[in-house]
Symmetry: C2
Subunit: 139 residues, 2 copies
DNA sequence: CTGTATCCCTCCTGATACTG
DNA sequence: CAGTATCAGGAGGGATACAG
């Protein structure tokens, strides 16, 4: 029995962690809104409603798959609305809900933080790398 | 030539996107701080300095590899400090820098948003799923 | 125009075992 | 105690082709 103590303990820990995640679904939500494409879509829509292909153009690097996937999950979560206009060529508009707007405010705040402190991070990074270089050159 | 128009356009778009990312490294930073383990480590450290194994215990589901990896990148970015005390068993403490604290404030805000609006999201989700069921049952 | 379905491939993740 | 090295597995992301 003693031979699998480590594995067992790890499994126990993992189980506890999973349980924690179930009690605290905030983490899921947090993971979702911190998704790469989510922030881009929400920022794009913050300026106003947009059509599918407009979004595809504005975000530029996104594949139709990821765009649709992101849009669907955001619609499901009530972050944005999807409006179909059955004209001759179908037209679909996406717009932020009030909930979506409040989220966009937050994302903007985070973005601001990143912009404000980027210099600091960058300097810390260079200093850190430089010191690493010194260390390896020493000996 | 006409046969690769789509591919070319996509490549152009991708190039433009990459260029945008270089001009706006905020996105990289944003991606980094929205990492799954980053938020957990920063929250854990928000309460005060901790040792390596303490972090491992508190976060519970993390493997030593991911813990070290996360810690290293955060140290490099000046979010936290790593202090080695060369005692008989080596002792290493991790602590948030002022920069790290300001970040923890933001992450807390996001977490608060997630907690506040979780009900709303959940309801939106159920309504959406219910409507989908109705749609498929109609016809 | 607006998506959907498929395949593929890379990166990330995590587990294990070993070192200082 | 505090990591590092290595390897396997899986999920996510992208490209393509096709449908409504």
């Amino acid at each position: 029995m003693a031979t699998m103590t480590a594995a067992q303990r790890r499994e126990q820990a993992r189980f506890a962690y999973d349980a924690f995640l179930k009690e605290c679904p905030t983490n899921q939500l947090l993971d979702r809104i911190s998704d790469k494409w989510v922030s881009l879509v929400v920022s794009a829509l913050a300026a106003g409603p947009m059509r599918y292909s407009d979004l595809g153009r504005k975000i530029a690097g996104v594949s139709p798959k990821m765009l649709t996937q992101t849009l669907r999950s955001l619609e499901r979560d009530g972050i944005l609305t999807r409006t179909v206009t059955p004209s001759v060529p179908v037209r679909v508009d996406y717009a932020l809900t009030p909930l979506g707007h409040s989220l966009s405010l937050l994302l903007t705040a985070v973005k601001d933080w990143a912009e404000t402190h980027f210099d600091e991070v960058h300097r810390a990074r260079e200093r850190h790398d430089a010191e690493a270089g010194e260390t390896s050159r020493a000996s």
